[in-house]
């Protein structure tokens, strides 16, 4: 059971979440997340042996449908919202990966 949230853990989580935090953000979040987790520890006192988890409130489960191909959004329309698209080539562009 985790007891105290450390700065190192906050930095680890920020890396997982792809967030670049300032030094002061790290301090603030370390304190605030520790407070929230302490408050949430109330949940851990509740007896749940043998209780199935609820991931979804829908009793019936998802609705199935036939997987029929149909037209999707027009490529030009979609690329209009892209921050750095090559619309003539129909591509999204990103910074160099390799």
């Amino acid at each position: 059971m985790p007891s105290k949230l450390t700065r190192e853990e906050v930095l680890r989580v920020a890396r997982l979440a792809h967030l670049e935090l300032s030094e002061s953000d790290v301090d603030t979040f370390t304190q605030q997340l520790a407070d929230i987790l302490a408050y949430a520890s109330e949940v851990q006192q509740i007896e749940t042996t043998g209780v199935a988890p609820t991931s979804h409130a829908l009793a019936a489960g998802p609705m199935w449908r036939d997987d029929r191909p149909e037209p999707s959004l027009d490529r030009d329309t979609v690329l209009k919202n892209a921050p750095d698209a090559r619309r003539d080539a129909g591509l999204f562009r990103v910074p160099k990966v390799l």
């Binding site: 979440a17 792809h18 967030l19 979040f29 997340l33 929230i36 949940v43 749940t48 199935a52 910074p95």
Partner: protein
């Protein structure tokens, strides 16, 4: 323009009837709404974006039809800015989507327009619907029309303000932990969170997918029922939208509540409830009793865990849903030399503090070593919260609680302490955790003239009982006829 269009507090039902009878045109109604927005929305700031040209063009099309397009023919409607309308901005209150223009209609958008509604604009909301005051909007806040220094509630605060101030008779919001009901209570209007699966979420910018549900704001219970009927039903684009028949949620004159059994969870209300809220709540329960309902005390023993369970579950889902804002396909991009640095900088520049806090919390509780202790545990307690309601609903037809523990708090009052802000949702988080329908109906005022809301929670798929109780209560009380001191 006729007299009808000059009354900004005309109901959707009355407006539709007047337009159908050709007493006024859809264009008159649309222009009246747009004029009022132009005149008084400055200090209220309900609207993120007013789509005047689109709305007038649409109203003129309706006026050319030989017969009404549907049950909302010519009725102006405002949409929370996390709901897609083809060709309009959809910021979800975030800088990361500042320039995003939706390339398709949400299912609710298409259904409203099929029913004849005229979409007049998009309303201010907390960023990605995360908040209880609209103060987390990158473009907010909205102001409570009953007292401009007060929060309108959130996250669908702009929609609540628009309806309360007579800028539109109807608006849509989304409710994940109370984001329709809490602002409805704060602004003195009706707000409905339907059963999970009643309304398609296609085109709703996702926050927490097992909880999010779209629903209406209105000034009367009848209008809310009309609007919900128009947007409900199965949708092949959302596998969680259930193929259940959409009933008339409020049959004409259905106000007979004799024999209905209402449960009051006394232990939940034992502490932390403002005295004015408690008085208004007790009065409203007595009114329902006088109308023929029976009232009994019930126990919801796991409700005290509602807030922590909600924040563990909702933030976990949010951390996953918000991974898509990576600067590649849409939205903001920050310059960087490498792909990873581009992701990190884009997300850091695009998200506000509360969204980052929730992504951090959600990522933490899902991460290796903590999943079982926090996320799985919260899902198990979610089961216990659901069971509490199942047990209660063996003996009662609806559960009554105040919608919020206090009337509207002041803007700025809770921004420094996230946990205090979370506690504003203490009575609203349990219904979505259990997937149940719930509504808030105005039930009085505090000593300083701030509205108070009565919350009714029902069995899954039984919105009709909630509408019947709320309509009976509304008919017996003066609150829905009282309007805020604006314009």
């Amino acid at each position: 323009m006729t007299a009808g269009a000059s009354d900004p507090f005309l109901t959707a039902a009355a407006l539709r009837a007047a337009i159908a009878a050709r007493e006024l045109s859809a264009e008159d109604a649309c222009r009246a709404a747009l004029d009022r927005i132009a005149a008084i929305d400055g200090p209220l700031h309900a609207f993120q974006h007013v789509a005047a040209d689109r709305a007038i063009a649409r109203a003129r099309e309706l006026d050319r039809l030989a017969s009404p397009a549907g049950p909302l023919h010519g009725v102006p409607v405002a949409l929370k800015d996390n709901i897609a309308v083809n060709g309009l901005v959809a910021t979800a209150g975030s800088r990361v989507l500042e320039r995003y223009v939706a390339a398709f209609d949400a299912t609710v958008t298409a259904r409203l327009e099929q029913a004849g509604a005229v979409i007049i604009g998009k309303t201010i909301c907390d960023e990605f619907a995360m908040g209880s005051s609209t103060e987390n909007s990158a473009y907010g806040p909205s102001h409570n029309p009953w007292a401009l220094d007060r929060a309108p509630g959130g996250s669908s605060g702009g929609s609540a303000v628009a309806v309360a101030a007579g800028l539109a008779p109807l608006a849509l919001g989304s409710d994940t932990g109370g984001s329709i009901r809490q602002p409805a209570a704060f602004c003195g209007v009706v707000g409905v969170k339907p059963t999970y699966g009643r309304v398609s979420r296609f085109g709703l910018i996702a926050f927490a997918s097992s909880l999010d549900q779209i629903g209406p704001f209105a000034r009367t219970v009848e209008d809310a029922a009309l609007c919900l009927e128009a947007i409900s039903g199965a949708d092949r684009r959302d596998a969680t939208a259930a193929p259940r028949e959409v009933p008339r949620f409020l049959a004409d004159g259905a106000r007979d509540v004799r024999g209905l059994r209402i449960g009051v969870p006394e232990r939940v209300l034992a502490s932390g409830v403002d005295a004015d809220v408690r008085r208004a709540f007790d009065d409203s329960v007595r009114t329902l009793e006088r109308l023929g309902a029976t009232v009994r005390s019930i126990d919801l023993p796991h409700s005290h865990a509602g807030i922590p369970v909600y924040y563990l579950v909702a933030t976990a889902e949010a951390s996953s849903n918000l991974a898509r804002y990576d600067g590649v396909r849409y939205g903001l991009r920050a310059d960087a030399a490498s792909l990873d640095a581009m992701y990190d900088r884009t997300r850091s520049a695009g998200f506000g503090a509360e969204v980052k806090r929730r992504i951090m919390l959600g990522t933490y509780v899902l991460s290796a070593g903590y999943y079982d202790a926090y996320y799985l545990k919260a899902q198990q307690v979610r089961t216990l919260i659901r069971r509490d309601f199942e047990i209660a609903f063996a003996d009662v037809d609806a559960v009554a609680m105040p919608t919020t523990p206090t009337p509207a708090f002041r803007l700025g009052e809770k921004t420094a302490d996230p946990l205090q802000m979370y506690l504003a949702d203490i009575f609203t988080v349990t219904a979505p955790l259990a997937g149940l329908p719930a509504l808030s109906v105005p039930c009085g005022f505090s000593s300083d003239q701030l509205p108070i809301g009565l919350q009714l929670i029902g069995r899954a798929w039984d919105e009709a009982t909630l509408f019947r109780l709320a309509a009976a209560y509304e008919h017996a009380t003066p609150w829905h006829g009282m309007h805020p001191p604006v314009g």
